[in-house]
Amino acid sequence: MTASLRSPPSGSEPSFPRAKEGERDERWQIRIRGLKKRFGPQQVLDGIDLDIERGKTNIIIGGSGQGKSVLMKHLMGLLKPDEGQILFEGQDLVPLTEHQLNPVRKKFGMVFQYAALFDSMTVMENIAFPLLERYRLRRDEIEKRVRELLDRLGLGKVPGIEMKFPAELSGGQRKRVGLARALIDRPQILLYDEPTTGLDPIATKNVDDMIRQTADEFGVTSVVISHDMASTFRIGDRISMLHAGKIVVHGTPAEVMKSDLPILREFLFNANMGEHGREAKGREAEGPATEITKVSPPPTQSNPNPSPNPSRGAS
């Protein structure tokens, strides 16, 4: 789809040059430029520049109340920004109407923080919901697809799970059913809103494994909102940190570990990163001991693939 370059609604310039509309990037599936959003007097997003890598697990971290969920809701079109662009496969989603957004939304799947399962429907009805809404499939075919998905997500052996209502499920089961509902129509991108919040460590690891396996098995691009650093380093391919309304760090786990940004260091210092975080940190110790290298800056129109500091080791 070709389209002219668009000005942001307010006319002010973003922090980074605009990514060009109409151009599908092979590496970056979603490109956000200059995203701003205000709620009353509070400027929640203050010029977000972010790229989501195709086929990878992209993690967005940040403290509580920094606007991570607000950012995610913009990706699904649940919120409209005050300024900025959200390019999905080269198409700017911001100016689209609700009706125009619907075909785009069908390429996304979203797993909500508390699963957001429909209370009045059984597990079978919840998971089948997207198929029933979009296609005219036979009932037995729908049930077969649902059962296959339940098996792949480890719920097939729970007796009678298909006919249970959300209130009868455990927290972990609800998240898996929510994931199944998001996956049933084979989306290109999966969004996870704080998937491990409130879960015990074992359940957290199970959810992390589920996200990782889903990404590997289904080949989807994952965008995960999290403040759980152990999970982040366990499953993340790219990590971005949201702070004070902006993305302040963006890179691979090893690159992020090498950042000298004070807010990130404080975040990491106070977090339990788990063995994967320590492993990433350990890689740094094998490299140059004193040199603090910087992470790659976010890609821009003029430099879509910026290289890291050449003195750094692992990327």
């Binding site: 809701k73 699904m76 079109g77 649940l78 609700e98 957004l101 619907n102 075909p103 939304r105 069908k106 996304f108 799947g109 979203m110 909500f112 923080q113 508390y114 957001a116 399962l117 429909f118 209370d119 919901f129 997207p130 809404e133 979009r134």
Partner: protein, 276 residues
């Protein structure tokens, strides 16, 4: 609407500032405007595919069939008390025989549609507001949007349509049961002549009276459903806010019914004057 960034300038000497009216006046028009917008979007959902007949039937069952017991109970006693008070008044003139016509007319034109609407507001309206409010705070409405489903078409339209069709049905049930209650009190308790009761009932009431009652009931149904859905849809917060929304839904739905009743009665009386 944007708020003024600075305080309003003081009024010139000798003039009274009306700025204090700004909030309530704007609130009044905002209330009706927001409800009208929601109603418009809900009506648009009727003609736009996909069509989901199952949802309409479910809501008609909830609004209508589910309300039947309370409607029957209220109708029976309303008919009895209406007959009781009418007989008391007519006894002053020794004209108790007119009770069938008087109660029949008041039921058909006013008591049945208004009481039916108030009962269904309390029962179904509160249920709608609570359900939608709970869906809002648990992100189920957002989930619908992520599946490219229009939440107003999916949630509000079936409720509005169900109320539009089921209120007249329930109103007719109210009429029948109310007349039964009036009959039992008048004929069995007060020993008024059965023949006189039925004769004046048939003479004073007309099918157009029941038609007017049903027209009112349909409009009341739309009003209460829109009020309930509006409050539920706009909940922000937690369980407490859902409770407040439910209360607001019942209050605004009931007030809407009573206010509309006056204007509709006036308008319908123009088209259907009472026979002399």
């Amino acid at each position: 609407m944007a708020e003024a960034a600075s305080a309003p300038a003081p009024s010139p000497p000798g003039r009274v500032s009306l700025a204090f009216l700004g909030v309530p006046v704007r609130g009044f028009f905002g209330f009706f405007g927001d409800h009208a917008i929601l109603l418009g979007r809900a009506l648009a959902g009727i003609v736009r595919p996909p069509f989901r007949p199952r949802l309409y039937l479910e809501q008609m069952h909830f609004v209508g069939v589910g309300s039947l017991p309370i409607i029957i109970l209220v109708a029976f006693f309303s008919g009895m008390v209406s007959a009781q008070q009418t007989v008391r008044a007519l006894e002053l003139f020794r004209q108790e025989r007119y009770v069938g016509g008087a109660v029949g007319l008041s039921l058909a034109l006013e008591l049945a549609p208004v009481f039916t609407a108030l009962m269904i507001t309390a029962r179904a309206g509160s249920g709608m507001a609570t359900e939608l409010g709970s869906m809002r705070i648990t992100e189920q409405i957002d989930a619908l949007t992520t599946f490219a489903v229009n939440p107003i078409q999916y949630l509000v339209t079936p409720r509005v349509v169900a109320a539009f069709f089921m209120l007249p049905v329930m109103t007719m049930v109210f009429n029948v049961v109310g007349m039964l209650g009036a009959f039992l009190y008048s004929v069995v308790v007060k020993s008024i002549d059965y023949g006189a009761f039925m004769e004046y009932y048939r003479y004073w009431t007309d099918p157009s009276d029941y038609f007017q009652g049903c027209v009112k009931a349909s409009i009341f149904g739309v009003a209460l459903a829109v009020a309930a859905c509006y409050e539920g849809f706009n909940v922000r917060g937690g369980a407490k806010e859902v409770g407040l929304a439910t209360t607001s839904a019942v209050v605004s739905g009931s007030v809407s019914v009573l206010v509309l009743d006056y204007f509709l009665s006036d308008m319908l009386a123009t088209f259907f004057p009472l026979r002399s």
